[in-house]
């Protein structure tokens, strides 16, 4: 069997011979020319041969020219020129070979260097089946390629090329590797949604957790949503110990896991075998991509889940606080009420103890009154309606007054505590809410007495760096490290008597004055430990210097 006389395949050598063949090929083409070009030098392969004249000629005859090449930083300039000549240019990563196909003919061009001189060889074919095959190969590559404009923009703007890889369960090992590499690549942020209790154990085995812990230690934000239980608690403990900045929320089971890194890349892995021991055994269909739109949409799904869970936790916490408040407040209210009620019941039967009992009733009524005003203060603070009544006064006087009140109390209780305060002659002139500041000093002093069985409590006031510093230093049991971080939060107390409202209120009062309050344990020495609470107030209230008026402003409006 032979081909028809017009169908043949030839191998051609020699520049002249080759140039002629190419030009003949170009002029033979009627509708289209499709070509693949090596990235190395698109111009060598076609630019020289396809002279401007030939290009104009093709255009005039209505022949459409489509080419695929690999566009990179080196050839981007040439490629832009080619875009002027060709009807359409596309980019494909790593494309090889130089060939041209028209409706009827096929050309493959081979280059080599022979002792620095380039040699060229050409394969020509007009055999229909070969032309058809090559056209099919071209079309397949063409469909995979992306427009040159897109690639050029990516290179010029430094955008990483977009990929969207889909894996089935045959590529499990590859996906494991991708996840591991993803975890290692975390720079700014890792958002991780894990589908089950077991999945945390699986990704930990893969090294993901250790890598995100390292990222977190270097300052990356790491958020994990995962169903939590006793089974995976050692991993959450490890995270909490090594990377306390990492947030782990208890989530629901889900049919897939999601890993979003630096808002750049994501992996979504469906779960096929929920109880599998390793990540690669567990996963099914997976998507790995850096597509901007996809990353963003997965991110927003994650954020949505995160916010929902956070809100949930907050509600739970608020609910717990509410319960705690009712419990403590009711305990604190009912205890003095019980005393008042009891003494009132007894007083008639025991006229000989009348005075003593009346005193006890009064003491308990005061306690009740104090609690009521504390609760009222908290309500005001929370509704942001705590107002200051400003007046000019000498802080040293106020301190002495408060200390004297407590000194009497200590003396009466025969306690083994010495209250040290040297009244200062110096006048510390303040414009502030005198009653409220008295309340703060009284709260700090009261706490010190409550937690100091014996030793000393020293109250001092001084001016330093245009600030007033007031300190209450005791030799008591010190601050329990467990509550150190939430010392000024509501209901935090180590006392069996008390609501845990005092420091919360004090902090709000000091902050309303533009000051700061803090507490710390004293340096340990053989004799005592104890704590020191200090607050600082600016000598000039913030805002006042600017307005230059004597009237109170903002939060400090008069009642």
């Amino acid at each position: 069997m032979t081909f028809s006389p017009s169908e043949r395949t030839e191998v051609l050598n020699g520049v002249e011979n080759i140039t002629n063949t190419i030009l003949r090929f170009l002029s033979n083409a009627k509708n289209r020319i499709s070509g693949c070009l090596d990235s190395i030098d698109p111009l060598v392969s076609i630019g020289v041969e396809l002279s401007e004249k030939a290009a104009i000629d093709l255009k005039n005859r209505g022949v459409k020219v489509k080419h695929i090449t690999e566009i990179n930083k080196e050839n981007i300039h040439h490629c832009k020129e080619l875009m002027q000549v060709f009807d359409e240019l596309r980019h494909l990563d790593g494309i090889k070979g130089n060939f041209l196909v028209s409706e009827t003919e096929y050309l493959a061009i081979g280059f080599a260097l022979h002792e620095t001189k380039p040699v060229v060889q050409l394969v020509y074919s007009s055999i229909k089946t070969i032309v058809k095959q090559q056209q099919y190969i071209f079309d397949t590559l063409w469909n995979k390629a992306i427009p040159a404009e897109q690639k050029i923009r990516e290179i010029e703007e430094g955008i990483k090329p977009e990929y969207f890889e889909v894996f089935t369960d045959r590529d499990r090992e590859r996906v494991s590797q991708i996840l591991f590499d993803l975890a290692k690549s975390v720079k700014k942020e890792a958002l991780i949604l894990l589908p089950s209790v077991k999945s945390l154990i699986r990704v930990d085995r893969l090294g993901l957790i250790d890598n995100v812990i390292m990222a977190s230690q270097k300052g990356a934000t790491v958020k994990i949503i995962c169903p939590l239980s006793e089974e995976n608690s050692n991993i959450t403990r490890k995270i909490a110990e090594k990377a306390p900045g990492t947030s782990v929320l208890n989530g629901n089971n889900s049919p897939y896991g999601m890993y979003i890194v630096d808002s750049e890349k994501f992996l979504k892995a469906d779960v096929k075998v929920p109880l599998a021991e390793t990540f690669s055994e567990a996963i099914g269909f997976c998507i790995y991509s850096n597509s901007k739109i996809s990353v963003e949409s997965f991110r927003s799904i994650f954020d949505l889940l995160w916010n929902e869970h956070t809100l949930n936790e907050e509600l739970k916490r608020a609910d717990k606080m509410q319960t705690e408040f009712i419990n403590i407040a009711s305990h604190e209210m009912k205890t003095p009420t019980q005393a008042i009620l009891g003494y009132s019941n007894l007083i008639q039967r025991h006229p000989e103890k009348r005075d003593e009992m009346l005193q006890a009733i009064s003491r308990n009524a005061t306690r009740l009154q104090r609690l009521t005003s504390d609760i009222l203060d908290v309500t005001k603070i929370e509704s942001k309606s705590l107002k200051l009544t400003l007046e000019k006064f000498n802080l040293n006087e106020l301190m002495s007054d408060v200390v004297d009140d407590y000194r009497n109390e200590i003396e009466k209780s025969n306690s083994d505590v010495k209250l040290l305060h040297e009244p200062q002659k110096e006048i510390i002139q303040l414009e502030a809410d005198k009653n409220r500041l008295g309340q703060v000093i009284s709260n700090l002093l009261g706490n010190a007495i409550k937690f100091t069985k014996k030793g000393t409590i020293r109250v001092t006031g001084e001016i330093k760096d245009s600030k007033v510093l007031v300190s209450v230093k005791d030799t008591g049991q010190g601050i329990d490290p467990e509550i150190m971080s939430k010392l000024f939060s509501k209901f935090v107390t180590r006392s069996e008597r008390g609501t845990g409202l005092g420091l919360f209120i004090s902090k709000s009062i000091i902050e309303a004055h533009g000051g700061k309050i803090w507490g710390k344990n004293n340096d340990y020495n053989a004799n005592s430990r104890g704590a020191t609470f200090t607050f600082s107030l600016p000598l000039v209230r913030p805002g006042k210097a600017e307005t230059g008026t004597g009237t109170a402003t903002g939060d400090a409006s008069k009642l």
């Binding site: 009711s330 205890t335 005393a339 308990n364």
Partner: protein, 134 residues
């Protein structure tokens, strides 16, 4: 007959444990006025250290106390004396129900008497008598 009555009342011994001195005073006086013999402690640890089997007919226990809460003290006392009647007296609103459930679970459905503060002395005496008679 009068003699007999007095003997019975004299035998009714009550231990009160509450960290609030005002409340131990009030409860002790109120109960003593009604013929009970009362010992009172403000420190639960001290109460436990002094506790001897068979010394009391009933114990009135506060819940929220420093060093050892009422439930812990209850547990310790039960180890020493499994007969003495124990009444909790608490100012807690929500713990009331929680406590009831907790005791039910921990003590084989032993029904624990819970008295809520504040309570009038007469009512307290009435409830304690009822408990002692049961």
């Amino acid at each position: 007959m009068k003699e007999v009555m007095r003997t019975i009342t004299r035998n009714q011994r009550i231990l009160v444990v509450d960290d609030e001195p005002d409340l131990t005073t009030v409860f002790s006086m109120g109960l003593e006025d009604n013929g009970f013999k009362v010992d009172a402690f403000n420190d639960p640890l001290l109460a436990l250290a002094e506790f001897k089997k068979g010394s009391y007919d009933l114990i009135l226990l506060d819940y929220r106390m420093p060093n050892m809460n009422g439930f812990e003290l209850y547990t310790e006392i039960r180890k020493i004396d499994d007969k003495v009647k124990i009444c909790f007296i608490t100012a807690f609103e929500i713990y009331y129900e929680e406590l009831r459930k907790k005791f039910h679970l921990a003590y084989d459905n032993e029904d624990i008497k819970l008295i809520q503060k504040p309570i009038e002395i007469d009512e307290l005496v009435r409830q304690i008598r009822g408990q002692l008679a049961s």
